[in-house]
Symmetry: C2
Subunit: 214 residues, 2 copies
């Protein structure tokens, strides 16, 4: 089996924006409206942070529960990991996700600034520099035959797309417009020279975009 690099459940606004530019400790997505982009996941029965029973088991639930299926490692940008920039002042910050991060695999955090690996529950965070192809090689080795998830954010996905390393993308496009922020694309059409595309409207209002290599 070929090991794939997959973007999964990445959500952007109707105008292609995945996050704001003003990320802080209190605003992980850097835009007051960006959190609402993920409402489609939160409504499903398989949402990992669900505290009450219930939730939908329709189309959106398939995508939510496929998040970890067949995945052996994740690559994420440093800005997904935390709001700090530049050299680490200390190693107190261990991500947004508390004692049980939802990844449950090795996670490779892209950074120019070294830091020792650490483990929280089933997730081990490694901090790696170097070009995307080299990072992907490390992640594939750690994934032991399974696929690698490219977790975002926007700049990280763009960087791996530019290096032509992405095999499939699932991008949920929310009906909300954000106006400003970090933009994944002007239009999904931009990727059609290299990818097939299924466009699948969900009854929840988001439109799932499924790309795979030509």
């Amino acid at each position: 089996m070929t090991q794939l690099l997959r973007v999964q459940n990445f959500t952007v606004s109707a105008d292609g924006i995945g996050a704001g530019e003003d990320q802080t400790m209190d605003s992980p997505f850097g835009h007051p409206g960006a959190g609402s982009l993920f409402a489609w996941c939160g409504a499903t029965a398989s949402w990992p942070n669900r505290t009450e029973p219930g939730g939908t088991r329709g189309l959106d639930d398939y995508f939510t529960r496929d998040f970890a299926h067949g995945i052996g490692a994740e690559i994420m940008g440093r800005n997904k990991f935390g709001p700090q920039r530049g050299p680490w002042r200390d190693h107190e910050w261990r991500g947004w996700w508390g004692a049980e991060p939802p990844f449950r695999t090795p996670v490779f955090v892209l950074t120019h600034h070294e830091r020792p690996s650490f483990t929280l529950s089933d997730t081990t965070f490694h901090f790696v520099g170097g070009d995307p192809a080299r990072v992907l090689e490390q992640a594939k080795e750690a994934a032991q035959g399974l696929d690698v998830r490219l977790g975002g954010g926007v700049s990280t996905i763009r960087q791996f797309l530019d290096a032509d390393l992405v095999d499939t993308l699932h991008v949920a496009v929310s009906p909300v417009r954000l106006g400003t922020g970090l933009r994944l694309w002007e239009s999904p059409q931009e990727l059609l020279d290299r990818f097939h595309l299924d466009v699948v409207p969900s009854p929840s209002g988001v439109t799932h975009h499924l790309f795979w290599r030509r």
Copy 2:
């Protein structure tokens, strides 16, 4: 986690027919046109019988690869297992699937006629009688906390629906009309008193119907 009873990837014609009435050794679906219903699965990258690389990785592939995800046992009707009717003449017949059946879990075959269990690769077939609720109890115990797949055919699904034991159904409706055969429904609307429904057209031409309990 609640253990669910799930119908997955069950395909019917535009007129609600899942199989013909003339099942034989050479015609497992009992209708010359019924095999074509499954073309949507066969075109995907995750189709387990795929012999050549390639295949689509869009919407239909999500359903194909979800077939075994989170499933710990299957319940199937005897007519899915084989074309014999009545008491077993011998125990030579071991299903349609060769030495490596795609189930890879315990499988409970509904029958009034006893037969010893046997194992092929990762799949063990058990032959069980009794009412649907009792069979489901056995299958849930064997599934060890995972969900149970209700594999069909039509009569088996109808029987478990009548007993109100089904939690979710994924039924792919093909654009082909078959005219005669075993009918799952006159219309998907019949289930709406008990189930929510997402209707999701796929670019391949099938329309995925996703039901979950109200």
